[in-house]
């Protein structure tokens, strides 16, 4: 069941063109399966922003996201640490006792140290923490993978597959992984998958890194099951070519992220499914490709 909690940003770094890796510390107990997502309240924006979980452990989680709009743009600017200018000499102000509306009074050259304090307070109140609903959605099923599953990720569809690969590696399952990007400067996480012992193929549309072409150009003949996440045309092409059963993770605009606003449903062979609740992972056999 989902949980609401405050997560501390410990790292937020650019790892590819417009792609950021954010490391968060907080209660991850609600996350139960790779492919689930979290919903993040971002200061100054109204709706939460759903982001897939890349990986997690009992202390925290890693999100990898691409800047595509205002929400992710604000998120990408929230770098804890870069404003850490108060650390240093002497015994400073105590930032624990300030409550939620402290008053800073500075005169003349007394002002500069208060600026440093304000920076620190701003960081501790907003920049360093995120209000997150976690444990959302229905993730990938790791029971059905057989002994040689194929993981196919495109662009920012790659992160949830990394969490899946970690879980499969723990079960000593040998995965083949295809990661598709537009160009070399978009590529991320190739080494991470290799470090898990996966057999990794990278494709780029312009051929500047790895195999030239789309992920579908690199799909092998033999595998026991597939898991995929990425842009809609890629998902459709993968399902069209896939020789086995498999699971597909979808993306959709969401109002709430927990099944109540009916903002994100998709028609399936088994009636409508809410991408946030019954999804984001759907089985290949139940997907209807319209148009």
């Amino acid at each position: 069941m989902m949980k609401q909690g405050i997560f501390e940003i410990v790292e937020n770094t650019r790892i590819a063109r417009a792609v950021y890796e954010m490391k968060l510390v907080g209660d991850t107990s609600a996350i139960t399966a790779p492919g689930q997502f979290v919903n993040i309240l971002i200061d100054g924006l109204f709706l939460r922003r759903p982001i897939s979980v890349c990986s997690w452990n009992s202390e925290g989680m890693t999100l990898v996201y691409k800047v595509v709009g205002r929400g992710t743009e604000v998120l990408s600017g929230m770098t804890a640490g870069e404003l850490d200018i108060l650390s240093g000499l002497g015994n400073g102000y105590n930032t624990e006792l300030c409550g939620d509306s402290p008053l800073l009074i500075g005169g003349g050259v007394g002002v500069p140290p208060l600026y440093g304090l304000a920076v620190r307070l701003a960081e501790s109140m907003t920049a360093g923490e995120l209000d997150i609903l976690s444990g959302l959605g229905n993730g990938y099923n790791t029971e059905l993978c057989g002994d040689s599953p194929l993981l196919i990720g495109g662009g920012v569809g790659v992160p949830p597959l990394y969490g899946l690969a970690v879980r499969l590696a723990e079960k000593l399952v040998k995965c083949s992984v295809i990661l598709g990007f537009n160009t070399a400067e978009d590529v991320f996480y190739e080494d991470r998958f290799k470090a898990l012992g996966c057999n990794v193929t990278v494709t780029t549309v312009d051929g500047s890194h790895g195999t030239k072409g789309f992920v579908t150009d690199a799909m092998p003949d033999v595998y026991t099951y597939f898991y995929t996440c990425g842009p809609l045309p890629m998902l459709r092409a993968v399902c069209g070519l896939a020789k086995t059963s498999g699971e597909v993770s979808f993306e959709e605009r969401m109002g709430c992220g927990f099944g109540m606003c009916m903002g994100c449903p998709r028609k399936t062979t088994d009636g409508y499914k809410r991408i946030c609740k019954e999804g984001p992972v759907l089985k290949k056999e139940e997907i209807l490709w319209e148009g």
Partner: protein, 305 residues
């Protein structure tokens, strides 16, 4: 009587904070998160005679202090609601529920309300008159006094439950529509439904939601809602439920001072699933702060002039 109790069309509720239709499912979904018996009641997902899938996606867009939605009344239809949703609710909620009903013809409303009249747990019927009337050229029932009154009369004739008419704010004179519903036998008025809005995606140059236009809700609409609640509460004798952008205990009190007997809270639930519970728990201390003993005593208490 507790400090938060109010009487709504003859039914006492333990507090006036009612989760609004379309943001609270059929209740049992939230019962996984907290004991929904802390609520006085809630208004369930807009239900129609037939099952509906609703509009294409995207159905949701961000706005400054609010959101647009064009869900299109997705629901499983009244028969499935009675056979599946209400039995699920009964297991976790021991109070009367408000049945939110939509339709595309008078016959639709009548059928749905007749079916729901046999359900003991339904305490009130809330008529959403903002949907288009397929026999009336697609004009919404709620945009003119005559058609709003016609729906009200038709439903009153087939139900034993108190009928609350939920009004659209997208009209020139909401007071005349409220009065017409009262004269047609409505037991209460709730307002406001969402304000019609639109956004355009600058990257694609397309409307941000597939339906082009959608309903605007959230804290940004609160002053408009408060004004309309005030105007309607001044003009009718029947109870008024105020809604539109409420997101704090202070907002609840403000809406009740404007004339609301109870309030509904919608969009806030989507951002914080615990919003209604939290607001109910905050109310006593906020009442203390403003010297308010009981909520029922402040209804319509705004001092004008």
């Amino acid at each position: 009587m507790g400090r938060l109790n109010v009487s709504l069309c003859g039914i006492d509720i333990v507090n006036p904070v009612i989760p609004a239709s379309g943001t609270f499912g059929y209740g049992y979904e939230y019962a996984e998160l907290y004991d929904i018996n802390e609520l006085g009641t809630f208004s369930f997902k807009g239900t129609t005679a037939q099952a509906r899938f609703g509009n294409d996606t995207p159905r949701i867009a961000e706005c400054y202090m609010g959101m647009l939605n064009a869900v299109g009344l997705q629901n499983s239809g009244v028969d499935a609601v009675i056979s599946h949703e209400l039995p699920m609710l009964k297991k976790c909620f021991n109070k009367p529920v408000m049945a939110n009903v939509s339709g595309f013809s008078i016959e639709d409303y009548v059928y749905t309300c007749q079916r729901l009249d046999g359900e003991a747990q339904v305490g009130w019927v809330e008529l959403n008159v903002s949907c288009p009337n397929v026999h009336g050229g697609g004009m919404s029932f709620g945009v003119c006094a005559e058609s709003a009154a016609e729906v009200t009369r038709a439903v009153k004739a087939v139900t034993t439950k108190p009928v609350i008419v939920k009004l659209s704010p997208n009209v020139t004179d909401i007071v005349s529509i409220a009065r017409a519903c009262e004269e047609a036998g409505a037991d209460g008025i709730s307002l406001i439904n969402t304000l019609l809005g639109m956004r355009i995606d600058l990257n694609t140059k397309k409307p941000a939601i597939a339906n082009v236009m959608g309903g605007f809700s959230g804290p940004a609409v609160f002053p408009v809602a408060l004004r309309m609640v005030y105007q309607v509460a001044m003009a009718v004798e029947i109870p008024v439920i105020g809604m539109g952008g409420i997101s704090s205990a202070e907002d609840v009190i403000e809406m009740m001072l404007a004339g609301a007997t109870a309030v509904e809270i919608g969009t806030a639930n989507l951002i914080n699933p615990f919003a209604c519970r939290d607001i109910i728990r905050e109310l006593p201390s906020v009442m203390d702060k403003y010297g308010i003993n009981t909520l029922s005593e402040i209804i319509g208490g705004v001092k004008v002039g």
